[in-house]
Each structure stands twice: as structure tokens, then as C-alpha cells.
């Protein structure tokens, strides 16, 4: 058994994870060397500790057969919801949001546990044999399971993290058999709601949507119906807009036009773009980034750690990191295609989509392609709970990889 397990280890996956962990340590070390911000120097030591714990978590998640995880998914889900409910009560407030619970000496984010647990439970629910996802009696309970943690995390507020739940959910639903067209029809109104903030973004989207559906040979009556639904969703936006907190409004506006507010919210994006751009092809060298070193970069150890990579290691460094992520995802999808167990296959798809979502949103944010949502970058950003959650997911990926022939 042990021998077979070792033979089945996907060393490419292991290599990618190890590479990204190492890169994460290098970047967090660099981000901790900021003379202007002397309090940062402890970050590296703590991240090393998190990495060691993360490796332990990864091993546990690899060794414990995924069937056990499937079996106790609902328990974990209930615990995580309970923890999320504790956040408003016990949570520590930072930057106007309550996201952390202090547990003993350290703080952790229940939202990360909830994301993980929700993914497990959804995978378990969708793994029922001969399940027809197109039936509402099947879809609604799944949506409800995902909706609860989504709303709780959104209320913290933590828009970025909460959005990763629907991102995984949609992919898993697609994976289990939902037609692509149906997904487009469901997702499009949501996009409409966001883009309707600025008409010059929304109108082209509607035109593109109409044209796309036309070429997919959708019935004309249905096409008009879809566009009307999208129009209605956009009309709701002003109402939703007023319920957003000013800083959230500002973030959306800044994303849409960063130059508009150079000193305020746009500052982060502009400085990040300068940092990445000034890295050039080969980067400015380890510890030599001025944007980072002189503290012009905001949140450089957490959400904007990719900017440090861009500044100090250049295009080549960024390419290496993104390639590692891409290989990880590609191997994951291949694994999902091969895995004999429905649960395992679904779980892998969920993990991969979550990974793509985090990388895409975080990197887009540092490049000025997406609003500043406060989403960390897997492996590279400083942060304990998130790293442990990522490592747990990688553990499950290894787990499935080793046992891919099992049902």
C-alpha cells in the first residue's frame, strides 16, 4: 500500500507546490525588510512557522483518505458556520472590518475554514450518483449550503473572500453537468449588476452578451428575455450601490478609473503598477526594490506581494510564478478528468477553480485590471489561516492524486 502510494505521487504537483512555498518565503522575507517600517522584521520568522505548520496540515490532508473528508464534510461545515457566527461577537476589528478571531496567542480567519468546508460539503452533495443538476430540487439545497457562508463572509465585510465561494460553486455545478449556456444566463445578470455602475462599461457588455448568444443560436424570444433580465439587474444596481460602504464604492470607482483618485484609493494601484513596471524583464534584484524598500507599495507583504515579485524579479520572475500556478491547475484538471470517484473529481475542480480565482483576482488587482478587493495570493502572501487553508487544499489534491484509481 505504502509503496503504491509513493509510486502514485505526482511529483510535478509536489514540485510546483514546493517552488511556490519557497518563493513565498523569499517574497515575505523581502517584504519584511523595510527600514521605514521597522515593525515588519518579525513577519518572516512567523511565516516560516506558518509554512512548517502548513506542511504538517498538507501531510495530514494527504494521508487521511479523502473518503473520510467526504464523510465528515457536514461536521466541518457546521463548525465553520459556527465560527463565522462568532466573528461579529469575538472578532477583532481591523480597517473597519471584523474578519479575525483571536485564538490563544494567534489570530485566524474563520472565513478560510468556511470556504474549505463549503467546498467539501458541496462536492459531497453533488457526488450523489445519477444526480441531475438541472432539477431545482437538486440545485436549490446546494445553493443554500453555499449561500449561508457567502452571506456571512460578505457581511464581515470581506467581498473578495466571499466571492471565491460562488466561483468554486459555479465551476463544480458546471463540472457535474450544468449546460454552459445556463451558467452564462445565471452569471450574466450578476456581472450586469457590477458593471452598471458605469454606463460606458455596461452597455458594451450587454451588446457583447447579445451578440454572443445570437451566435450560439439562442431563440430570439429567449435572447430578448435574457437581455431584459440583465437590464433589470442593472437597474437594481443604484439601489445596491447605496447600501455599499463608502470605501467599497470607492474601490469599485477606483478600479474603473485609478487615475481619478491619485492620492487616495488609486494610490495603491498606481504604486503597484509602478513597482511591477519598474521591475522590467529581469527585475531590480532581491531586496533592491525601491517601491517596496521605501514603503511606497501598500500592503506589500499581504495583498500586494505580487508587486514585490514584479519589482524585484521582473517579468521572468512573474512568468515563473504564474507558470507554476498554471501547471498546478492544469495537472489538477487532468486529475479531475481521471479520478474515478465523483467526490474526488468534484473536490479537485473546486480546489483548482478556487486557486485560479485567487490568482486571477489578486494579480489583476496588482496590475490594475481588477478592483482592490483584498484577496491574498496563494502561497506568496503573508497570512497564517489562508496559507493553512491553501496547504490543506493542496494536501487533498495530493490525496486524490495518490488514490485516483479508487472509487
Amino acid at each position: 500500500m505504502r509503496g503504491r502510494a509513493l509510486r502514485n505521487v505526482d511529483w510535478t504537483l509536489v514540485g510546483c507546490v514546493a517552488f511556490l512555498m519557497g518563493l513565498g518565503l523569499i517574497l515575505v522575507y523581502s517584504a519584511s525588510q523595510v527600514p521605514a517600517l521597522p515593525g515588519r522584521s518579525q513577519l518572516f520568522n512567523r511565516q516560516v512557522m506558518w509554512m512548517i505548520m502548513g506542511t504538517f496540515v498538507l501531510l495530514v490532508c494527504t494521508v487521511v483518505p479523502y473518503r473520510v473528508w467526504e464523510e465528515y464534510a457536514h461536521v466541518l461545515y457546521v463548525i465553520s458556520i459556527f465560527l463565522l457566527l462568532l466573528v461579529p461577537v469575538l472578532g477583532a476589528e481591523r480597517l473597519g472590518a471584523k474578519r479575525w478571531i483571536a485564538l490563544g496567542g494567534f489570530q485566524f480567519q474563520p472565513s478560510e475554514v468556511a470556504k474549505f468546508a463549503t467546498m467539501l460539503l458541496v462536492a459531497r452533495m453533488l457526488a450523489q450518483p445519477r444526480l441531475d443538476i438541472r432539477r431545482l430540487s437538486v440545485l436549490l439545497p446546494v445553493l443554500a449550503v453555499a449561500f449561508l457562508p457567502f452571506v456571512l463572509i460578505l457581511a464581515e465585510p470581506d467581498l473578495g473572500t466571499s466571492l471565491s465561494i460562488p466561483a468554486s460553486l459555479v465551476t463544480m455545478i458546471y463540472w457535474i453537468g450544468m449546460p454552459l449556456l445556463a451558467i452564462i444566463l445565471i452569471v450574466a445578470p450578476l456581472v450586469s449588476m457590477i458593471l452598471a455602475v458605469k454606463l460606458w462599461l455596461w452597455i458594451p457588455f450587454l451588446i457583447a452578451l447579445g451578440a454572443g448568444l445570437y451566435f450560439l443560436r439562442l431563440k430570439r424570444s429567449l435572447l430578448i428575455g435574457v437581455l431584459l433580465v440583465n437590464a433589470a439587474a442593472g437597474a437594481v444596481t443604484p439601489i445596491v450601490w447605496n447600501t455599499l460602504k463608502p470605501y467599497q464604492q470607492q474601490r469599485v470607482l477606483t478600479f474603473l478609473d485609478p487615475e481619478e483618485d491619485v492620492a487616495g484609493a488609486g494610490y495603491q494601484v498606481i504604486q503597484s503598477r509602478i513597482a511591477i513596471g519598474s521591475g522590467g524583464l529581469a527585475g531590480r534584484g532581491f531586496l533592491k526594490g525601491t517601491q517596496k524598500g521605501l514603503a511606497f507599495l501598500p500592503q506589500q507583504h499581504t495583498d500586494f506581494v505580487f508587486s514585490v515579485l514584479g519589482e524585484e524579479w521582473g517579468f521572468l520572475g512573474c512568468l515563473a510564478a504564474l507558470t507554476a500556478f498554471a501547471i498546478l491547475v492544469a495537472r489538477g484538471v487532468r486529475l479531475a478528468m481521471k479520478a474515478r470517484s465523483r467526490f474526488a473529481s468534484l473536490l479537485v475542480v473546486g480546489i483548482c477553480s478556487s486557486l485560479v480565482f485567487h490568482v486571477a483576482v489578486n494579480v489583476s488587482m496588482t496590475l490594475g485590471l481588477a478592483p482592490v478587493t483584498g484577496i491574498p495570493l496563494p502561497f506568496l502572501s503573508y497570512g497564517g489561516t489562508f496559507l493553512l487553508a491553501t496547504m490543506a487544499q493542496m494536501g487533498l489534491l495530493f490525496n486524490v492524486s495518490i488514490r485516483r484509481t479508487e472509487v
Binding site: 527600514p35 521605514a36 457526488a127 450518483p129 465551476t171 458546471y174 463540472w175 457535474i176 453537468g177 454552459l180 504604486q271 503598477r273 509602478i274 513597482a275 511591477i276 513596471g277 519598474s278 521591475g279 522590467g280 524583464l281 533592491k288 525601491t290 517601491q291 524598500g293 521605501l294 514603503a295 511606497f296 514584479g310 521582473g314 517579468f315 512573474c318 512568468l319 504564474l322 500556478f325 498554471a326 491547475v329 492544469a330 484538471v333 487532468r334 479531475a336 478528468m337 479520478a339 474515478r340 470517484s341 465523483r342 467526490f343 473529481s345 468534484l346 475542480v349 483548482c352 477553480s353 485560479v356 490568482v359 486571477a360 494579480v363 489583476s364 496590475l367 485590471l369 472509487v407
Partner: protein, 620 residues
């Protein structure tokens, strides 16, 4: 459970490729954007990043020294005390009021207006992160007072900074000129040549003329600033640009002779009605063969050191108006030459054959009728009958009046031009003046065609009327007489110090440009002899130097005020080496006022202890 794929194989493969495609598309978009930012437009970002943190600070490159021909320092950079305040001083960030109090206290200590300081701080903080220099060139008493109160003056420092110093104070001030900070307006054009706010630049004299050689090239030190706007020491990776010192200039001046020249000018006598006016005038000594200026003085003088500390408006106005001390009268003022023109006009008459050597003219009885007007000789009792030599020695006007009709206005103008009068000599000093030689065309223009009396020639031939020449032009003409027609370009730069920086500016042409003017040797010989006799026994007797024969010509130029006294001479008369011109505004006769000054200049040059002063009674 039976062992079978979770989904039907085909469907799974298809959906797998869709997901893989979407995932890869996302990565490709990110990589594309990265490529654009990091490879295509990277330069722009790097520039923006540098603008974030790198602030250049200038380190002044020391300006070259100015030395005399024997190595005596005439101008140099020396350390001086400046009192600065640093608006970036940490406690000021927390407590603005503290800075205002400090400024107030400091202003009281150095006896200045606090409002002026505040204004300066606000102005300079816009452009620099450096401490603001409130007091330049502070004297030691002031420094001691500030040092004593240092504890109650947070953010204030006493710094040493180089200033331009002229160790000999007023010596050769007009030649050396002075330096000042670049004006705001000039800065627009000078920025690309490396000047910036606070740069020193030559304003007049040699300092201006040879600015490109003298100026030190400023170095740059890069100060790094972090996001909080504070200095950061961590990233000092940009190599500072080293300063390049300016080059030393060795002038042709001889400090010893220069000093003697200036004191001789200052001691000039006065013949007019009391009270005696302030001495205004110029004296120059030049090597007749090379054009090297050995001494050049102008009065009134000024101390070029005053420009190194701040002048107030009142002091500045005084320098600009009263007596115009900044004017270098040796080259920037033109005067009627009076009788000092006579050697030239007599040469003209001899060369044109109007008179023959040794030819006597009708005797002088103190005046000459021309048309219905009588032109007087300066000696009312008359000179009697004189030949060409006597006419120069005694400076007899009547003798020359008789030559005027034959030469005519244009004949006189022609010979004057031949000797380079009213034409810039090309001396290496800025703002040289032209002067004026009237001709018939000039008179036609001024009085209308043929509407002027030919009698004007009688005035012109003795150097009176509209004619205006600068002392330096007169000096060169005198040197030409001495050398037989060698037209030198007077110059002050003797040698440029060793190259200590990259060659960036064209080397100045060393060696005077000389042009040999073809002159009538025989005629010139008579003129020289006449000038020699003038000093030996004529109007220029008070220029006699012990053991050195001098040839010279006195001049007394009539003008709206009291007469200007002039003297132009060269020595030794037999083997000429140097020529001198002395001019004194409104002080009387050339023979009694100007000639003794020239004598003392020659004394200093030839190292003659102190020639016997010959008091002349008669003088033109």
C-alpha cells in the same frame, strides 16, 4: 459501489478542456498584461519610481582661482559660515509652532526680519529638501552668538559653505569682476548647462568672461526619500556624480604693479576749484609687444567681496548710481582724447606729406583765425615758431590748426582708424565700448549735407569735439607708435591652469592676435622723437623716470565739466616694452595731473625707487 467513472467519459473530457481553456486564457491575459507593463513600458515606470524616491542634491564644484602672473591669488573659494534651518527637522513635523518660534528667535539674534526668513523658507521648500540657508557669509561674531544659543534653536545649524573671496579686497576689482547667484530669469536658459538655483555665476569682468573655464561643475548626491517623505539611508545605490573643480586662471596682471597703479590713481592731484571731487578715472599698463595687460585700474573702485554676502537694495542702488563704481572706465567709458591724439594726427600729416620732418609752421601767437572764428592755443601767450618735434613736445594747438585744412576731417578720421581708435580692441573683458570718430559722413548726417563748417577739422585734429575713444584704445594706439605698427589685442588671460576635468569648452586662444599695420617708418620716427622730447623737456616732464627714457603725450580734454586730464606714454623710449595710459575725469591738465600717475606706474614696473618729481609749470 461499482468501479466506474463519475461522469460519462466524453462529457467529462469536453468539460475538462473547457475548464482548462478558461484557466489558461486567464493566465495568458495576466502574462500579456505583465509583458506590456514590464517589457514594453518598463522605462516609464522606472522613471516614475525614481521620481518617487530619488532627489538629487547639488554639491557645488569649487570655482577656479584667479592668480596674477606671479601666482598671487586674486580670487579664490574660501569656506564661510552659513546659518541654516532645516524645515524637515523631526520635531517641526509634530509642532509647526516650534519652527515659527525658532525662526523668530534666530532673526532676533542675527538682527534680521523674521517675516523675510519665513517667506524664504516657504519659497525654498517648494524646490528642495535641503536645509534653507538663511544667512550667508555670516561673520564670526554672529556665528558665536548663534552657537551660544544653539539649545534654544532646534533645527538650526551653522554650516561651512564655500564663497568667492577676493583676498586683496578692492585690488583689480574691475578686471576680476564678481560672482553672484544665477538670476531666476537666466536660469531658464542655463539649466541645460548645469546651473540651478543657488549656482554661482560670473556677473562681470574676468569672472564673466571666462565663466566656462572658471566654473566648477557641480556634483550630485542623491538623497533618498521614503514614502513618509523622510530621508532614507538604506538604498544608497546611485553613485554620486563627482564635482569637477573649475580651472585656475593666471592673468597677465602683476599684482605689485597693479597695486602701485591703483595707489597712484588714488593719489592723483587736483587743479580745479575746491572742494576736490571724488577721483574718477582709469590707468592701464600694457606690454607693447604682446598686448598683455600688466595693470588696469578704474576709479571709483569697489570691493568685489560685498557681493558674496547679501546686499540690500540701498547698497545696491549706491553701486549702480553714485559715481557708477562698477563701471570699468578703462574699457567701458569713452572720452575725447584731447592732445593725446596729436602724435597720431601729426603722423597723418607727415605720412600724407602735408608737412616734412623738421618743417616749421607759422609761429603761434596764442590763436589762429579760421573763417570768422579764432581758435585758441592752450598757451595764450603763444609758442612762437615750432617744427614738428616742438609741436608735439609743447603740444602747440596752433601748429596743428594749420595742418587741419590739408588733412580734412576725413584725413584725420582715416589716420585715427589706422591706429585702431573707436573700434573695440577685443580685450578679453565683457562690455567693451566702441567710441566714435566723426567723419564728413557723420557730420553730414548730423548737421545736414555741407551744413557744417570745415573748421570742425581744427577741433578734431587736437582731439576735441565729438571724438570719443576709450583709454584702452588710446593705449593700443600708443603701443602701435612704440612698436612701429604692431596692432596687438590687449589681453588679460595668460595661462589656464592644469586640466582637471573633461574637456568641454573650447580653449581660449592664447597669444594675442596681432596685425602689422603698414606705417610710414620715417614719419613714425619723428612722432616718437617728439613724444620723447615732450617728456624730457616738454609738457610731460612730470612723467620722467629715473634712468628710463619715456616717450609720452599729455592731453587735456575739454568737456561740459572741468577738464579731463590724460597722459599716454611708452617706455623705454629707445627700446619700448610697456605703454601706459592715464585718464582722470575733471581734474585738470594732463601734464600736471595725469603724467605723475604714469610716472609712478613706470617706477613700479621698472623697479625704480622713486623718481624725482618734476613740477612742470607749463602744461597743455
Amino acid at each position: 459501489m461499482r468501479s466506474r467513472p463519475a461522469l460519462s467519459g466524453n462529457d467529462r473530457r469536453e468539460r475538462g478542456w473547457v475548464l482548462l481553456g478558461i484557466g489558461l486564457l486567464v493566465f495568458l491575459i495576466l502574462i500579456g498584461r505583465l509583458f506590456f507593463l514590464q517589457v514594453v513600458t518598463s522605462g516609464r515606470s522606472r522613471e516614475l519610481a525614481e521620481r518617487n524616491w530619488l532627489r538629487p542634491e547639488f554639491v557645488p564644484g569649487p570655482r577656479g582661482r584667479i592668480l596674477d602672473r606671479n601666482g598671487v591669488v586674486l580670487a579664490e573659494m574660501t569656506p564661510s559660515f552659513a546659518i541654516n534651518i532645516d524645515p524637515q527637522y523631526e520635531p517641526f513635523h509634530k509642532n509647526r509652532e516650534l519652527m515659527h518660534q525658532t525662526v523668530e528667535r534666530l532673526a532676533r539674534l542675527v538682527d534680521q526680519d523674521p517675516a523675510k526668513f519665513e517667506e524664504q523658507i516657504v519659497r525654498e521648500r517648494k524646490t528642495t529638501y535641503k536645509p534653507v540657508r538663511l544667512v550667508r557669509n555670516a561673520d564670526s561674531l554672529m556665528v558665536a552668538r548663534v552657537a551660544e544659543h544653539m539649545i534654544s534653536l532646534p533645527g538650526v545649524s551653522v554650516m561651512v559653505e564655500p564663497v568667492r573671496r577676493y583676498p586683496a579686497d578692492t585690488l583689480a576689482a574691475h578686471v576680476l569682476g564678481y560672482v553672484g547667484e544665477v538670476g531666476e530669469k537666466d536660469l531658464e536658459t542655463l539649466t541645460e548647462r548645469g546651473y540651478h538655483t543657488g549656482s554661482l555665476i560670473g556677473k562681470t569682468g574676468i569672472e564673466l568672461q571666462y565663466e566656462d573655464l572658471l566654473r566648477g561643475e557641480d556634483g550630485k548626491r542623491y538623497v533618498e526619500v521614503n514614502a513618509l517623505g523622510r530621508r532614507s539611508e538604506a538604498f544608497n545605490r546611485r553613485e554620486p556624480v563627482p564635482t569637477r573643480p573649475g580651472r585656475d586662471l593666471e592673468l597677465t596682471l602683476d599684482a605689485k604693479v597693479q597695486r602701485a597703479t591703483e595707489s597712484a590713481l588714488d593719489a592723483a592731484s587736483y587743479e580745479g576749484p575746491e572742494p576736490a571731487p571724488e577721483i574718477r578715472g582709469a590707468a592701464i599698463l600694457m606690454d607693447v609687444w604682446t598686448g598683455e595687460i600688466l595693470a588696469m585700474a578704474s576709479r571709483p573702485g569697489f570691493d568685489d567681496n560685498v557681493f558674496s554676502s547679501s546686499l540690500n537694495q540701498e547698497e545696491w542702488n549706491a553701486l549702480m548710481t553714485e559715481g557708477r563704481p562698477l563701471l570699468n572706465r578703462a574699457i567701458q567709458s569713452a572720452y575725447p582724447p584731447g592732445s593725446t591724439l596729436k602724435p597720431i594726427t601729426e603722423y597723418g600729416a607727415l605720412a600724407a606729406g602735408v608737412i616734412r620732418p623738421g618743417q616749421y609752421q607759422a609761429p603761434c601767437f596764442g590763436g589762429q583765425r579760421f573763417g570768422n572764428r579764432v581758435f585758441h592755443c592752450w598757451k595764450h601767450e603763444g609758442h612762437g615758431s615750432l617744427d614738428d618735434l616742438g609741436a608735439l613736445a609743447q603740444s602747440c594747438d596752433v601748429y596743428f590748426y594749420q595742418l587741419a585744412p590739408a588733412l580734412g576731417v576725413d584725413g584725420i578720421a582715416k589716420v585715427a582708424r589706422q591706429f585702431g581708435l573707436a573700434e573695440k580692441t577685443g580685450i578679453d573683458l565683457p562690455q567693451e565700448r566702441n567710441g566714435l570718430i566723426p567723419s564728413s559722413a557723420y557730420y553730414d548726417e548730423r548737421y545736414g549735407k555741407r551744413q557744417w563748417s570745415p573748421g570742425l577739422a581744427l577741433n578734431l585734429i587736437i582731439g576735441q569735439g565729438e571724438i570719443q575713444v576709450t583709454p584702452i584704445q588710446l593705449l593700443r594706439a600708443t603701443a602701435m607708435i612704440a612698436t612701429g605698427g604692431r596692432e596687438v589685442t590687449p589681453r588679460l588671460l595668460r595661462e589656464v591652469g592644469p586640466e582637471e576635468r573633461q574637456h568641454r569648452y573650447p580653449e581660449p586662444k592664447l597669444g594675442a592676435i596681432t596685425e602689422d599695420v603698414k606705417l610710414n617708418a620715417k614719419a613714425l620716427e619723428r612722432v616718437r622723437l617728439g613724444m620723447r622730447i615732450a617728456v624730457e623737456s616738454g609738457t610731460g616732464k612730470s612723467a620722467r623716470v629715473h634712468g628710463i627714457p619715456v616717450a609720452g603725450k599729455t592731453g587735456t580734454a575739454e568737456n561740459p565739466g572741468y577738464d579731463h586730464a590724460l597722459f599716454a606714454a611708452y617706455a623705454p623710449a629707445d627700446h619700448p616694452r610697456v605703454a601706459a595710459v592715464v585718464l582722470l575725469e575733471n581734474r585738470g591738465h594732463g601734464g600736471t595731473v595725469a603724467a605723475p600717475v604714469a610716472r609712478r606706474i613706470f617706477d613700479a614696473f621698472f623697479g625704480v625707487p622713486d623718481s624725482l618729481v618734476v613740477q612742470t609749470v607749463d602744461s597743455d
